[in-house]
Structures are given as C-alpha cells and as structure tokens.
C-alpha cells in the first residue's frame, strides 16, 4: 500500500530514490531538477516541515541550482544533493558562532526562562540544563517552578532538583507566577546563586491571559536566556507556535526535545526559519544527562538522511598522507594524474575501511545497505580494480594512452577480469583526471576531499 510505504520509509530513502534516478542519467535536464524539487517538497512536508518554510526552501534551492549551472556540472546528482544539504544547514543556522552555548555572561544570578506549550518538555529540560551547568561549569543553580496550573508541577521540579543534587525554590502555596519569579531572583541574589532557572506553565500561544502573564514574568526576571521548548514531533502548527511566542516575548533560543524519537524533526527547520532564533540544545532522552548541543549539520543530515558526511571528510583528511598528497597536488597542477595515483587512491580507500566503512558515512546508505547485504558488489569491485591496476605494466600506469585493445585483453586475462571492466576503470580514471585538473587550484585540502569523493560516483563533494 502506497500510504504505508510512504509513511514508514525514511526521507533518506525518498531522496536516495530521487538522486538514484538523477545519477543514472548522464545529463540533468531542467525538468529533472524540477522533478527532484517536487519530490523534495513532498518529502519535507512528510518530515513535518511547515509548508511556508518548505516553499521558501525549495524556491531558494531552485534559484541556486539555476545560478550554479547544475545542468552542466560533472555529476549533477551530487550537485543537487549538495545544494539541498548546504541550504538546509544554512537555514538551520550552522554559522560558526552558533555553537549552542547558553549566554549567561551577566551580573549573577543569570535568569533562564523556559517557555512553551503543554507537554513539550520544559520541566525536564530545566532540570537537564541545571545539571549540565552544575556538572560542567560548576555553577550554583536554583530551580524555580512558576507552574501553578498543572497539578503537582512544582513538586515535579523539586523532585528533579533533588535527583540532580541541586536546589529548588521552596514552594509557597497560592503564590502567583510573577511573584514566584521575583522571589526566585531575590533568593538567587541573596544566596549567591550563579543561575536561576524559571520553569513556567505550559501555555497555548493563543491564550491571551497566559501570554500576557509570561511577558510580565519576562519583565520581572530580565532573563539572560529565554528558551522556547519545542517537541520535535510537532507538525505544521510549528509556524503558528513559533511566530506567536517570538512576537510576544524576546526569545533567545530554541530547545528541541524528544529528538530520540523517530520523527524526522522537520519542526527544527520550521522553528529556525520562523523565529530566526538559534536552536541551542537538543533533548536526547528521558535521563537527566540526555541534553546535547545543537549541530546544524547533524540535524540537516537527519532530515535529509545524508549520513555523517562531515566525519567522512575528516576521516579522509586524517588517513591521507600529507606529503603524499602534496606530491600528488603538484602532479595534478601539471595535469599529470596517472593510474599509479589512482592505485594509491584505491589503497587509501581500503585503508579507510573499504566501501562498507565509507558507505556508513554516506547518503542513501539505508538503501545501499540492502543491496550490499545481498551481494558484496562494491567490495569486490575495489579488489578487482586493484587487480586490474597491478596487472598493468609500469609504463601503462604512467601513460594510460598506451592501453589499446590487445593490451586490455592481456590485462583482463592477467587480472581475471573482463575488458568492459577495464574500460569502466579507464573511464573512471579519465573523469577523475579531468575533474582534478579543474580543481587543481583548490590545493591540497580540496584534493584530499575530491580525490576521495571522485572515486565514489554519486557522492556529494564538499568545500
């Protein structure tokens, strides 16, 4: 059934299918780009990215795609993946200063105000932040619950404070939220706390009296951080919610909870786009230490199912021998990339854990894994290519132009392969040499990355 297929298949699978189609074509027509973007639109909506945000996103990618001559690029599929991914990271706010750190650099006590809908995870997150500040930054933290609406909400925070070995403001029955906030700040000043975390009642953004109240609490406590806590399972309503809170109070950041669920987390993109505020922290589990800084790259990869390309690139840089790479770079500048160099690249690929190891870092891996399990084609291919190269003479590897039909037959016999396989390898080498010549100016860094990725047709290149 189509519905079920759609439902439980990951976005990763979706995009892998799209790009698989793109990859199989030699060239990419404008219709192909539009078709891919249509699928991306549907995939993003099914990942719960809010519709207005999806529209902006798709339009921006289309604009970039046209501007950057995607249709003429060597591997159009790679280009589209890269544009989609990069734009997603940019929208999620992957700037270098966007590290997810809380800015508590004020005269103590620094107030942290937690706001959000009912059931988004404010109270648990408040305790997690307190624990983090106590453990990692040795801060003295006071937790105070302003939630006088939900039965036993104040007891919940007090219990959590005990669990993390921290302090909570004594509960005074009948006290109103603004008064509690003031008392918490007074206590914080008097008793020398570094940070006072104010947990508030969950409220609907259309509840006028409660939205007025939260603004009053904000005025009273003058928080250094005002964090909107959002459930990553949230659907299209994320735009309304984000807009309403951002309009009424001066938010400084977003905390995304339940990221350990299997929702694709489209709400992250919606919230970031609508509020313009950075996503600072991720709730990654029920335990009180399950709080992590936000990484735009990782969330983008999660939404797109891209795998951790960053770590692949890092691994490639680690593994490649620096001097070797420099030698290769000089050679390439002169346009002298030969089959010996290809053999070295293949050896490096094996050193990185073979195709299997590398595939774990690459987009669409869920899809590829199935095929890998059935037939170990890719590993075999690497070995066969190595065999082909070692069956060549030194002169042939230096000058591939020597490889006429009879030499190719000899190599096929010698390596236990076939002539078409050899032809494919030579074609791969030629594509690679052409590409390397083009990017010779990128220098060693670029080389290390592109050298690897050029061996892997269909994988995105990164700058």
């Amino acid at each position: 059934m189509r519905l079920e297929n759609r439902l439980f298949e990951s976005l990763s699978g979706h995009l892998a299918d799209i790009f698989d189609r793109l990859k199989r074509k030699g060239a990419l027509s404008e219709d192909d780009v539009n078709a891919a973007l249509r699928e991306i639109r549907i995939a993003l909506i099914e990942a719960d990215v809010a519709l207005p945000v999806v529209k902006d996103f798709v339009n921006a990618v289309r604009e970039q795609a046209v501007g950057q001559d995607v249709l003429r690029s060597v591997t159009p599929g790679q280009m589209v993946v890269k544009l989609v991914h990069d734009h997603l990271v940019a929208t999620l706010g992957g700037g270098p200063g966007d590290s997810g750190a809380l800015n508590l650099n004020v005269v103590p006590p620094a107030a942290v105000l937690m706001v959000g809908l009912q059931g988004s995870g404010k109270t648990t997150t408040a305790a997690k932040i307190a624990r983090l500040l106590q453990a990692r930054e040795k801060k003295k933290v006071l937790l105070a619950s302003l939630d006088v609406a939900r039965p036993a909400a104040q007891e919940q925070l007090a219990t959590l404070a005990r669990q993390i070995g921290g302090a909570s403001l004594p509960i005074v029955a009948g006290e109103r939220p603004v008064a509690i906030a003031k008392r918490a700040m007074d206590t914080g000043r008097r008793e020398g706390y570094d940070v006072v975390i104010l947990d508030t009642a969950g409220r609907l953004h259309v509840d006028e009296p409660l939205m007025h109240e939260i603004a009053a609490v904000h005025d009273a406590a003058r928080p250094a951080e005002t964090l909107l806590v959002v459930d990553s399972l949230t659907g299209q309503d994320a735009v309304n919610l984000g807009k309403a809170f951002a309009e009424r109070i001066d938010l400084t950041g977003i905390v995304l909870t339940r990221i350990d669920g299997d929702a694709r987390g489209g709400a992250a993109l919606s919230m970031r786009a609508v509020t313009g505020k950075p996503i600072k922290l991720l709730g990654t589990g029920e335990k009180l230490d399950a709080l992590e800084p936000f990484h735009a790259e990782r969330i983008a990869s999660r939404i797109l199912g891209m795998g951790d390309i960053v770590s692949l690139v890092e691994k490639a840089a680690e593994t490649s021998d620096r001097a070797e790479a420099e030698k290769l770079a000089r050679k390439i500048e002169k346009g002298g990339f030969d089959l010996d160099d290809l053999a070295a690249q293949l050896a490096q690929l094996r050193k990185m854990g073979g195709m299997g190891g590398i595939l774990g870092h690459l987009p669409g891996v869920a899809k590829v894994k199935k095929q890998l399990d059935q037939a170990n084609i890719d590993e075999t291919m690497l070995k066969r290519q190595a065999a082909i190269l070692s069956s060549m003479t030194k002169a042939e590897r230096k000058n591939p132009k020597l490889l006429n039909a009879s030499r190719r037959q000899r190599i096929a016999a010698g390596s236990g392969t076939t002539v078409p396989e050899i032809n494919r390898l030579i074609k791969q080498y030629q594509d690679m040499a052409l590409m390397m010549k083009r990017m010779g100016k990128l220098g060693q860094k670029g080389l290390a990355r592109h050298g690897i990725s050029a061996l892997m047709p269909g994988n995105p290149t990164r700058h």
């Binding site: 059931g119 036993a152 953004h205 299997d262």
Partner: protein, 312 residues
C-alpha cells in the same frame, strides 16, 4: 445533540479552523475553481496536517466534480467537510463501557508518548464516568516521571476517585495488578490506569508496556477492556507511526486527541482513522475537568473547515 454542546465544541475548535478558513477565503477570491485555486486548496489542507496524500485525494475529488465551475465559499466548505467527514464517520464511536460485565471493573489502559496529556485525560475521564453514576478507581502507573503520582492523586481528590499508587520508580506492571485487585475488591465499575509516557521507538519501554497488559490478563483475561492512545493535536505525521507502534504492542482500541483548543488542527487524525480503522472516542479542548468531549465526525469536520452548526 444540544446547541450548548456544539457551541462549546465550536469555541474550542474556532482557533483550529481560523487559518484553514482564511486559506479557503483566499481560494475563493478567484471565484473560478481552476488549477491555481485547487493548488491553494491543497496547500491549505496540508497546513492542517492532513498529509500530502489525503490532501491530494480531497482536492482530486473537487477537481472531478467542480473543475472550472464557479463555486461559492459555502459550497467549497461543504464539499471539503463532507469529504473529511466521510473518512471520519466510521471512527465516530463512543467508548462503550460494558456495565453488565460479569467481572468488574472495566479496565481502561491509557498510553502514549511523553507530554501528550495522558494524566489530564484520565482526570477528565474519571470526572465524566463519575458524572454518569459509575464508581471509578485510578492507578498511578506512571512511576517514572517525577511527581506524576502526585498529579494523579490531586485529580483523584478533585473528582472523588480512589487512587492506587506505589513508590516512585516502582514496577508499573505490579502496580497495575494490585490496582485491579483493589478495584475488584471495591467493586469499582471502572479502573483507569495511567502509564508513563514513552516514545514508540524505544523497544525496552514498549516491552514494559506490553508487560503491564500481560500481567493484567493474569488477573482478568479480558483486561484491559480498552486501550486508549492519547495523541497531541500539535503532533505531525509521526502520529501515524505512534498509532502503528502502540497498536502492534498493546492493541490500541481507541484514540483520544488532546489540545485541540490551540491552533493545531489535528488533521493527522483523518489519516489515522482511515489507515488503522480506529475509533476516536474523545477530544480534549482545555485544561479543565469538563474539557473533554465525545468525538463527533461531522462536527469535527465542519468545525475544521469553518462551517457553522451541523444540520440536524
């Protein structure tokens, strides 16, 4: 169905339908139902969390019947509501409590992801059943979340229901078993069992939930007589995965959708009702004890598209 009821439901849903209504009004400034108008209509439905497939389906029907015709606002809304209600009507079924059940109590297990509103829903259900003249007992089966037991205990005091609770961090299945024994002894008509919220992709937590069901069956093979999955209206398409996982693990028999008093439209309910053939028993439209309403497909559909009271 009284006017008073509809007024309350409509008040609760008014905000839900506002954006959808605005969207439709925008569609209708074009007067003629052409491709652009239908596209806009489809987007409006998507923004209501209906999902891409259902939105396309509804719009396709409009296209076949009315394409290029001039349509009034009321007509469009009517067709939309009809189409949504058509899918939802089979899901319109009250939670039938079998009072003649030989072995009382009627056991209701309440499950769902964290923060969906399980405990509040139990408080409201207890109020409702008490109001219908039944004796109700509550089991504080959420032994994980801090002060969850206290929260349910306060609800028990509010509505006058006995609450069976255990130590924090205790075994939820054992507690459920004890609560069932106590409810039998007290000859309670209904036992409502709260559970800790859990994400449906956590295998160990789902296994714990399954254990509660297994243990209950030792005391009464027919228990639990109902398993209610609580869904938050703000949830997106992931609700379908939740319905699937909880259904597979503990045999969900019905749904409650909470927090419909916000701007979230809860459109994913349509897809769930269709795909899983599950009844929707109640909707939550506020934090008060009375803010739980029986689900009415036509009202829901008409309110969702911004129409006035149902005819008849």
């Amino acid at each position: 169905m009284t006017n008073g009821f509809f007024a309350r439901l409509k008040a609760g849903l008014a905000r839900s339908s506002r954006n959808l209504t605005d969207g439709i009004a925008g569609v209708l400034t074009r007067r003629r139902l052409d491709d652009a108008a239908l596209d806009a209509l489809e987007e409006t439905l998507i923004a209501a969390d209906l999902g891409t497939r259902l939105a396309a389906q509804v719009v396709e029907r409009l296209r076949q019947e009315r394409f290029d015709k001039e349509a009034t606002e009321a007509e469009i809304r009517g067709v939309l509501a009809e189409e949504i209600a058509r899918t939802l009507t089979p899901a319109e079924a009250p939670l039938a409590i079998d009072d003649d059940h030989a072995a009382r109590p009627f056991v209701v297990l309440v499950v769902g992801v964290n923060g969906g509103g399980k405990t509040t829903t139990i408080g409201k259900l207890a109020k409702r059943f008490k109001g219908e003249g039944r004796s109700v007992m509550l089991a504080a089966g959420d032994t994980f979340r801090a002060a969850a037991t206290e929260q349910l205990t306060i609800w028990g005091e509010r509505v006058g229901a006995r609450v069976i609770a255990g130590p924090a961090g205790g075994d939820a299945a054992g507690l459920a078993f004890d609560a069932l024994a106590a409810a039998k002894k007290d000859k309670a008509d209904v036992l409502l069992i709260d559970t800790a919220g859990r994400l449906h992709n956590k295998a160990n937590l789902m296994a714990e939930l399954e254990k509660i069901v297994r243990v209950l069956k030792k005391a009464d093979p027919a228990a639990p007589h109902a398993v209610l999955l609580v869904l938050d209206a703000t949830v997106g398409q992931n609700a379908q995965a939740q319905a699937q996982a909880f259904g597979d693990m503990v045999g969900v028999t019905g749904l409650v959708m909470t927090k419909l008093d916000g701007t979230a439209k809860g459109g994913v309910l349509v897809a769930i009702a269709e795909a899983f053939k599950l009844p929707v028993h109640f909707i939550g439209i506020g934090e008060g004890a009375d803010d739980l309403r029986p689900f009415a497909a036509k009202d829901f559909a008409r309110s969702l598209v911004g129409l006035e009271s149902p005819e008849g």
